[in-house]
């Protein structure tokens, strides 16, 4: 029984034992902030004191890149650091804080430039940021996609939240509706994290989809080869799909995997707050797990994971694996109209556009990714 998601609940569900903490001083993980929102070291220390007594952990951020203001702490910033440091426990953590130094700068672009310019950066980056694809120019998205390729070429693992609007909804000029994909979640060169909830919200049970979990198909980027078979399988086997006019079935499909995104406890401005939800929560959880896997790989003299997706899809397509808890129940939100009645895609066995491959089972995922 529990009264909401805390580090110990997450670690129990994903089978992280007390021994599953970072051991290498030269491994690191990062999260990024783009608003004038900051975490407070005192909140992090209190969070760890309240919720992390059962496992080894760090209680402070090792490096802040950019400007860290002194105002009130932001809920999102607190959430990121508190949870990446709970799964990626005892791993050196960096925070990139890019509110845009100048009022004419684009904070997300400023973060990307910073990342591109530093020769030594953490191997794993968790980012909870996104815009509707249709609000951005193709030139901008295609160029940013190349920037994600550059990060992949350097061996960085870049994780993006899939968004909190399900499949999304866009009204077209003629009055008809389509789903609304989000970028950079829809980039084929990032790993996108969706959200789940416990089937029984007060127990560590199996997971169902979180109805807000972002997911769908890009209208800009074609489907990459690494996911073609998995997505084809979903499209052929799903008992019910939304009308074809609502999505581009040949586009990059996301998310790639998921984690709990509902009912988190966060300490912000020294107050523990319950009921915090969103893929902003699931993404740092996965980020910490991947940083922990990097820790083990580096200990064995192996290179870090880098861009995960080709290995992730290959691993799952080789045959049944226990590396993920397959999420097979629940649907996410979409347009409120007669054709889809507010329902987007639904989860099913294997990959689906609500929860991806499912949620991590750490020991098995570690085993699989130590020797993919």
């Amino acid at each position: 029984f529990h009264l909401g998601v805390t580090p110990s609940v997450i670690r129990k569900r994903y089978n992280l034992t007390d021994r599953d903490i970072g051991a290498l001083p030269n491994n690191s993980q990062a999260c990024a902030q783009f608003l004038e929102q900051y975490f407070h070291p005192a909140d992090l220390a209190e969070f760890m004191k309240l919720f992390a007594s059962s496992f080894g952990h760090c209680s402070r951020v090792d490096q802040v890149v950019g400007h860290q203001g002194l105002g009130k702490a932001g809920l999102e910033a607190s959430l990121d650091v508190e949870y990446i440091m709970s799964t990626g426990a005892n791993i050196s953590t960096w925070v990139f804080s890019n509110a845009g130094r100048h009022e004419s700068q684009e904070p997300f672009l400023a973060w990307l430039l910073l990342l591109s310019n530093m020769s030594s950066v953490p191997w794993v980056h968790s980012v909870s940021y996104g815009d509707d694809e249709d609000s951005l120019s193709r030139a901008y998205m295609e160029r940013l996609n190349v920037e994600f390729m550059k990060a992949a070429a350097r061996g960085l693992t870049v994780l993006f939240a899939s968004g909190d609007a399900g499949a999304g909804c866009r009204k077209l000029a003629g009055g008809s509706h389509t789903f609304r994909p989000s970028f950079p979640a829809s980039s084929p060169y990032v790993t996108t994290v969706g959200g789940t909830a416990f089937q029984n919200p007060f127990r560590v049970t199996w997971e169902v989809t979180d109805y807000i979990s972002g997911g769908g198909f890009s209208n800009v980027f074609p489907m990459p080869d690494y996911q073609a078979a998995a997505v084809r399988n979903f499209l052929h086997s799903a008992p019910k799909l939304p009308p074809r006019s609502y999505y581009n079935s040949s586009g990059r499909a996301y998310p790639d995997l998921a984690a709990l995104s509902d009912n988190y406890w966060v300490v912000t401005n020294r107050i523990p707050l319950p009921w915090v939800s969103g893929t902003s929560a699931s993404t740092p959880v996965v980020g910490g797990i991947m940083a922990l896997i990097n820790d083990r790989r580096l200990q064995k003299g192996l290179p870090p994971l880098g861009f995960l997706n080709p290995a992730l899809y290959k691993l799952q397509e080789k045959g049944p694996t226990a590396a993920f808890y397959d999420v097979t129940q629940g649907c996410h939100l979409s347009c409120l109209d007669a054709a889809v009645e507010g329902q987007g895609f639904c989860a099913g066995p294997s990959w689906d556009p609500v929860s991806g491959w499912g949620t991590p089972n750490f020991p098995q995922l570690l085993k699989a990714l130590l020797n993919p």
Binding site: R101, E103, R138, A139, Y140, V146, I212, V276, P372
Partner: protein, 181 residues
């Protein structure tokens, strides 16, 4: 002229309100994304270093190696620097891979450099942003050298976590609307 971001939304996001047009001497920071080389090669390389079945799996590039691969051609660098220099814009900052330039200039210069652009100030709470509500263009000869110019249209993205209470209200509202539909 050539408009690299004709399809970019110019909508001012909810919560932001217009203040005024910026003064001609107000300083702006614009980011120029310079056209890279060997993008196809980079794409293939990423496929190989990320594929566990490839002999190159995990053989990542250093920042220096990446720079050698993607840095813009000398022609691109010369053309863009010459163009900026013609407007008196000097001392732009670049990054290791040389494919972005960040330049500080007065608003009046930026508006001459990017025909069509008009810089206005917007505020949202305590935050302020300078953006152009109209599209910009570039000289046609720059089309093969610049991907886009940052700092004109995209507002800082909002990011809000969902609280369970509001989520339930939303779900209830959606359920009622679904029933009505």
């Amino acid at each position: 002229g050539w408009a690299p971001e004709q399809d970019q939304s110019l909508r001012v996001p909810a919560g932001w309100s217009h203040v005024d047009r910026v003064a001609p001497l107000d300083e702006l920071v614009l980011t120029f994304a310079l056209r890279q080389q060997n993008v196809e090669h980079l794409m293939k390389l990423v496929g190989r270093v990320s594929d566990p079945d490839s002999p190159q799996y995990g053989k990542y590039l250093s920042l220096e190696e990446l720079c050698t691969l993607v840095q813009p051609s000398r022609l691109t660098l010369n053309t863009v620097h010459k163009w900026l220099g013609a407007y008196g814009i000097k001392g732009c900052k670049t990054i290791s891979t040389l494919d972005f330039l960040e330049c500080v200039m007065p608003a009046s210069t930026a508006e001459r450099l990017l025909p069509g652009a008009q810089f206005h100030r917007y505020v949202s709470g305590e935050r302020s942003a300078v953006r152009s509500p109209v599209p910009y263009s570039l000289h046609e000869e720059l089309a093969e050298h610049i991907d886009f110019v940052g700092g004109l249209h995209r507002f800082p993205a909002e990011r809000k976590v969902v609280t369970r209470a509001s989520g339930e209200e939303e779900a209830t509202a959606q359920y009622q609307q679904r029933r009505a539909a």
